[in-house]
Subunit: 488 residues, 2 copies
């Protein structure tokens, strides 16, 4: 996400747990969270939505270790490197938690000399940033990355990534709300040069420009002056970074800027962006794209197009809206080569799942998801010793038949207690055992939660020997509960 | 898995990367690995097999942060605590990577005052142990945990855990090969007391006994003497730890040992184990259980039954078999209370997925899984400009229709190159575009890999407007390829 600014050190941090009395402080690390219940279901729904789209484009999954050798991560993240979590030196290799999924992907490509691949990776990454939990900014958070590696013709994979972004937000129900801001590192760097920025200051000035989405121009300008630019050069930058609009509009502005056009990088970037005009039209996504010359992206490794997906969010405090970034990426053609192997051009996108989660949660999507325990609850109605062994035998039969089944782990449970347990777990069907019925080789199947007077309210007696098929039949006949999600 | 012995410090470790020339050493941290291709598919198959079984028993998923406050982990793992990975102190809280999934679960229960839950958790854990990759022992490895928390009647949840173990290995095709070794901490501790071990030495002597599956008796005895036992007491321990067999057999031996029966803990443990006789019979799993008085388990937190699933594996060197542990767990009634909250009794099982993976891989299960890219490859047969824009338009149509589709990201690809790309990605169907056919509103659908002379070998022309439904129809009519797994 690249928007991490400043290291966190707060009051109370750094103390070594212990609230007296020898008891352990009952907390989780700052900026981390547990996932359970409806929230875990909503998160998993986001994962499966994105995973399905990645798979629709032919991608295969890759999983890498949560930590890498520190050297692998060094020199890849610019000013944000200070946010990397280091492992303690306990007498072995020097390691650090991954900061994103892109660098591990590049390391994997280089290590295995992979020439071409479409891979996706859904996993946690780590940034020692100041958490802003209401906005979904955490220290441990999920990213969903899709990347295309390999030598292809210009801008075709890049356009496919843009298409995937639109497909993803369409599937998540956010197509209308999002905009893809796009820029090109070569155009940006060329324009910096044209404005008079010396080569060795381009990356650090780019970092300053990257803050324009959050800070006013005056503040960014101040940072540029502190970084050694003259006022005149800074103002030149201020002029061109104001432009944004459709691909055609910005291409037109640049094509008419003679001074800019003399710069080779600007020209190369423009050639790329012109190809995008046709490709995004064929893919039906040009309405979602805004060419924004102020978009810089903080990371060092981008070499071509860069993009950021923004969404208008209501601000908690003022009631107006603020713009948040919920996915970002770009082309990075030199990263794999940094590991001393053959260069492999890459382009990709990283979805900030925790932020998407926070937005969908505010739209009450989580409330619609209700975790369900098993499908069947086995109950005893009276009977000797609470019919514990028969309940176990019935459970075995159902499990063997692949039916999701539970029973109350008590020797002599009362009937209301069993109904309550089934209700608490949102279980739709009961199998009820009675001593006489068992003796006759029968058990009762009952759909739970039917209204009084419903013809099936009392359930039906079935042969114990046919239990599995009878239960499966009942499960297909349930009244629809569109909001219930089974946990699997 | 609790079998971690000794910290690793080897030659070459501790050097700070860098092989000269400023290039980054291209390695991953020792004891870690990437997952990709058929191996990732086999691993995911293990995950889904286990996840389905957990869900069949009504469990819901929980996900916790990969690191915890160091204090949360302290004092839970006995001698193995030295294997915990610490995060560097970078000026915030003191944290460490999780060592297992049990302690985070207990922390979550305590923090949220959860009284009852069946939860499962499939995630990576971290141990700074000496890796043995051929045996599947890694520093970063997956565990799949299922636990039942809550006040229930004795041994009912414990028996369900044993049932889940058997269901899991049945589903993984390993039922015949595995045995569940079981013991009871109360019986073991009681027998230590009866043998004359002082109370303050019970845990450390238990740790020594835990090594009996890997070390000869003489070595374990030597460790006990070093830990301060007399030869006589050690020999007493040697006598009872020899017993193993069916639940009934060992219960019988203990019931006839007057000296042992005078110990309250032994009696309580025996009452528990007697209940298991009936419960495991109802669950149809008693043939897989071996009561083994030498089973001790290294971890501090167990309070009741403990178990370990062992499998006979052919040894790489000698050709004979060795016993490996592939799942383990037990009852831990006091762990949640260690966080200063109400006690919540728990029992659970942890599957060592990486070891199970290694065993299944040796059975060539991975070879049967072949990753597939998309379902459809869009190709151009001649045509102006390689029909790039029409290929993009067709891709858009297919993606919009939910069809998994790819095309070669080249402006003017040769036909053989496109066929090869489809073959490399194991894609079963081609949609082939020709200029004249496109002009007539038609495209060709062709099943790839059909033998010469097959009536459908040349495919069929369809209306472009009906493409999505025609492609979907073709996909349902494919010759079965039982070994191909789609990546989703």
């Amino acid at each position: 996400m690249g928007d991490a600014k400043g290291i966190s050190k707060e009051k109370g941090e750094g103390k070594k747990g212990g609230q007296g009395g020898g008891k352990t402080a009952l907390k989780i690390p700052k900026g981390t969270r547990d996932w359970f219940g409806p929230e875990a279901l909503l998160r998993d729904k986001i994962f499966s939505t994105l995973g399905d789209i990645f798979s629709r484009h032919g991608a295969v999954p890759l999983d890498t270790p949560v930590f890498e050798l520190k050297d692998i991560l060094s020199g890849k993240y610019g000013e944000d490197s200070k946010l990397i979590y280091d492992l303690a030196d306990q007498g072995g290799e020097i390691c650090a938690l991954r900061y994103d999924l892109t660098v591990p992907f590049a390391r994997w490509l280089a290590m295995n000399s992979v020439q071409q691949v479409k891979r996706y990776h859904i996993a946690k990454v780590y940034r020692r940033d100041q958490p802003a939990i209401a906005r979904g900014r955490m220290r441990e958070f999920y990213q969903c990355d899709f990347d295309i590696a390999g030598e292809y013709d210009p801008m075709i994979p890049d356009a496919e990534i843009l298409r995937i972004i639109v497909e993803a937000f369409t599937a998540l129900g956010l197509r209308e709300e999002v905009t893809i801001k796009i820029n090109h590192r070569k155009i940006l760097d060329g324009l910096f040069t044209v404005a008079g920025v010396p080569d060795d200051k381009i990356r650090t000035i780019s970092s300053a420009v990257d803050k324009l989405d959050k800070s006013p121009w005056e503040e960014v300008k101040k940072e540029m002056l502190e970084k050694g630019l003259t006022e005149e050069i800074a103002d030149q930058i201020g002029k061109f970074t104001k432009h944004n609009g459709s691909l055609e509009k910005i291409i037109d502005i640049l094509r008419n800027d003679e001074k800019a056009l003399k710069n080779d990088k600007v020209k190369q970037g423009l050639d790329d962006m012109e190809k995008l005009v046709a490709y995004t039209q064929e893919f039906g996504i040009s309405d979602k794209i805004s060419f924004d010359l102020a978009l810089a992206r903080g990371l060092d490794y981008y070499t071509g197009v860069i993009y950021e997906v923004v969404i208008e969010l209501p601000s908690e405090k003022s009631g107006d809206t603020r713009i948040g970034s919920i996915a970002a990426g770009g082309r990075y053609d030199n990263l794999v080569g940094m590991y001393g192997k053959k260069q492999i051009p890459c382009v990709g996108i990283s979805f900030g799942v925790d932020r998407i989660f926070t937005i969908l949660q505010k739209k009450h999507e989580a409330e619609k998801l209700k975790p369900r325990g098993a499908d069947v609850f086995i109950m005893a109605f009276g009977g000797k010793n609470g019919l514990l062994l028969p309940r176990m035998a019935i459970a075995r039969t159902l499990w063997d038949g692949g039916v999701r089944a539970e029973f109350l782990a008590k020797a002599k449970p009362k009937l209301p207690q069993q109904f309550k347990a089934a209700e608490d777990k949102n279980i739709p069907v009961a199998v009820i055992l009675g001593e006489d019925e068992l003796a006759a080789g029968k058990v009762r199947i009952k759909i739970l939660g039917l209204p009084d007077g419903h013809p099936d309210k009392d359930g039906r007696l079935v042969e114990r020997d046919n239990l599995v098929e009878e239960v499966k039949k009942t499960l297909t006949e349930l009244p629809t509960q569109s909001t219930v999600v089974v946990n699997q």
